[in-house]
């Protein structure tokens, strides 16, 4: 696996697959934080909006003591050749150079869904229905996140509403806007097992700077060259190999992260 090319001052997320119990707290926290409307009655698991989605992966008969694992799948915030950015016909997707966050401008989005076809991680979601909140529930909307309308694509942006808030309070303390700020996305905050760590390698918040270099770190489909900013951790070889599509590895040789 290639060494990371990610600027140390950009954010990374490290998800410990061994710790994840599949409880789904991150999914709920994400939806509430980011003003995702309750699913339409006709929505299925393939038409709903779940910026963070936990999938269960079974080992088959090569369990290695762990028959199944859960992988929380947010947008992988690809750092290189970001597939969704190059395909968007009207520059509605952008990689922020400072934070590394891949940002979907729903207001610019045409809803052509080409980015969804391009995304190898299926981490993008289309608003098939008008977002509707039950009477009174719109009062609970997060003012830092703009709701999206029907017919546009949206996805995880590392809770950039929280980033903006952190940025503002950093400014209050006189911090220049070029320095990275410390904040925690809703999913990381909500995880009861602390399986999701977030920060910049430079500041090494929650140890992310070390974790991305650990031997158990891996990323999804690294051969596509997308350099995701979301890392996974697992001590189990089958999980690492499965995620990297490496079916043939000689025994006894450790795959280096």
């Amino acid at each position: 696996m290639k060494s990371i090319e990610i600027s140390p001052s950009q954010y990374v997320m490290v998800i410990d697959a061994d710790r994840c119990t599949g409880c789904g707290a991150c999914m709920v926290a994400c939806a509430i934080e980011n003003n995702v409307a309750p699913a339409h009655p006709d929505a299925t698991d393939r038409t709903g909006v779940t910026w963070m989605k936990v999938v269960k992966v079974s080992s088959g008969n090569n369990g290695d003591g762990k028959p199944a694992c859960y992988l929380p799948l947010p947008c992988q915030q690809c750092a290189a050749e970001t597939p969704c950015v190059t395909v968007c016909p009207q520059n509605a997707v952008e990689v922020d150079q400072q934070t590394g966050i891949v940002f979907q401008m729903s207001q610019r989005c045409l809803g052509c869904r080409y980015c969804m076809a391009a995304c190898p991680y299926h981490a993008r979601y289309f608003n098939w229905w008008d977002p509707e909140w039950p009477e009174g529930m719109e009062q609970t909307l997060n003012p830092d996140v703009a709701p999206r309308m029907r017919g546009v694509v949206e996805k995880c942006n590392f809770c950039h509403g929280r980033y903006q808030a952190a940025r503002a309070s950093a400014a209050e303390h006189g911090q220049a806007s070029s320095d990275p700020v410390t904040y925690e996305p809703a999913c990381a905050q909500a995880c009861p097992t602390r399986a999701i760590k977030f920060g910049t390698p430079a500041n090494n918040e929650q140890g992310v700077g070390d974790l991305v270099h650990s031997s158990s770190a891996f990323r999804l489909l690294p051969r596509l060259g997308t350099e995701p900013r979301v890392y996974y951790l697992s001590k189990h070889k089958w999980i690492r190999q499965m995620a990297q599509m490496e079916k043939e590895t000689s025994t006894g040789e450790e795959v280096h992260g």
Binding site: T86, P89, Q90, L110, A118, R124, W128, G151, L224
Partner: protein, 412 residues
């Protein structure tokens, strides 16, 4: 009754028959438009597309009918640029079909996107790196070109040309048609290619991803070549169909055979390049991304038979048929070969869109299936009905086939 509007020397069915025919298609169109209206008013939840199967029937059909519409640019290329004057016999019809295909495709695209009113954003904030930007620009420009090319045909209508201003305009417009044809060829080359590039660039879809030259993946060139290959085949089919329905001889058989022969050579070249491309993809491109190409064909509905069908049954076979003089000179076989060739391109477009999306990329992802909803099918039917209506009116009131008067008697 309307005989004053029909070109002199052409024999057309009675107004009553024509009205019945039109009425039938208007009803079909109405039904289709209702489906399309639902998709616009209620949103794309009316379709069976979803977050994984983001493109469906519509994109497949868009790609296919835009390839079929290539007849307009290719006949224009043969006639105006390569000076093959025998194709005057089919150019008008090819232009009308091109116009129908492109306007139909654009209309469906407008329904397919989530926010059609933002379509102008692509022009205002274009991302020059996106194949889709290129497609959008080229198709809109080419639609304008086709509309301008259609004008002289329309203005030749018996009643319209009575007006001096229209006559003069038509005359002058006709003089610059070669320039339009050249622009059309240029635009077609790029957007037919970019439609192929749409999928070829998707590294995240190893089934569709292809290497290429510079910014263009190999599918770019394959799409151009395949569109050019059926460019002559599709007018051959439509001409035969119209001939059958109207019970008129429309063009001399030699013209159709000539179209078939050109189609055959191009198709042969396409099959050759497609085979080389497939081999490179199986042996190099796909393995380099750690995807075993054989897995793509393990799925229930998409076996290797589809690859065989695409390249051999609907590629090599019609190519060889069209290149065989004896087969070409037999009307029925000629049409069969044209039909096979067009089906082959449709299969190719199907594979590039539907199969690409059905196959999983993530290792733990399942294979997906998708069946279009009635609203999607209705929208497609609306395009067909629109095409039939526009063509019927053009055929009745305009001169689509100049040779028709020489080939038919005027006895009822």
């Amino acid at each position: 009754m309307d005989s004053k509007f029909i070109t002199r020397g052409l024999e057309r069915t009675s107004l009553r028959n024509f009205s019945v025919w039109v009425l039938f298609w208007v009803v079909v169109l109405g039904f289709g438009l209702y489906g399309a209206y639902l998709c616009l008013a209620e949103g794309l939840n009316q379709t069976n597309m979803d977050n994984r199967f983001v493109f469906g029937l519509w994109i497949f059909l868009d790609l296919a009918i835009i390839a079929f519409g290539a007849g307009a640019f290719f006949t224009g290329l043969l006639l105006y640029i390569l000076k093959r004057s025998e194709f005057t016999a089919v150019i008008n019809s090819a232009v009308v079909i091109g116009l129908i295909c492109y306007s139909g495709a654009v209309a469906v695209l407008a329904i397919d996107v989530g926010q059609p009113l933002r379509a102008w954003f692509t022009f205002w904030h274009p991302n020059a790196h996106s194949m889709l930007t290129e497609v959008t620009f080229c198709i809109s420009c080419y639609l304008v070109v086709l509309a301008v090319e259609y004008m002289p045909i329309l203005l030749k209508n018996r009643k319209l040309k009575e007006r001096p201003s229209l006559l003069v305009f038509q005359h002058n417009l006709h003089k610059v048609i070669p320039v339009l044809a050249a622009i059309g060829v240029f635009l077609s080359f790029f957007h037919q290619g970019s439609l192929g590039g749409l999928y070829g660039v998707l590294k995240g879809r190893p089934f569709a991803f292809r290497e290429g030259f510079g910014i263009w993946p190999s599918t770019f060139f394959l799409f151009v070549l395949s569109a050019a290959a059926i460019g002559p085949s599709f007018p051959l089919l439509t001409t035969s169909l119209v001939s059958k329905i109207s019970r008129k001889k429309l063009v001399k058989p030699e013209v159709l055979q000539s179209l078939g022969r050109i189609s055959g050579w191009l198709l042969l070249a396409y099959v050759l390049f497609k085979s080389v491309d497939t081999l490179v993809w199986i042996n190099r491109t796909s393995p380099s991304l750690l995807f075993s190409p054989y897995e793509y064909y393990n799925q229930e509905s998409f076996g290797t038979w589809i690859l065989f069908a695409e390249i051999v049954v609907f590629g090599l076979v019609p190519a060889l048929m069209l290149l065989t003089r004896k087969i070409r000179e037999h009307r029925g076989w000629l049409i069969t070969a044209g039909l096979l060739a067009c089906a082959g391109i449709a299969v190719n477009r199907f594979v590039m869109t539907i199969q690409t999306l059905a196959l999983p990329t993530l290792p733990f992802d399942p294979f997906l299936s998708y069946i279009p909803s009635w609203q999607e099918i209705a929208t497609f039917i609306a395009v067909i009905a629109y095409g039939v209506l526009l063509y019927s009116f053009s055929f009745r009131y305009l001169t689509l086939f100049p040779q028709e008067r020489d080939l038919n008697s005027l006895t009822r």
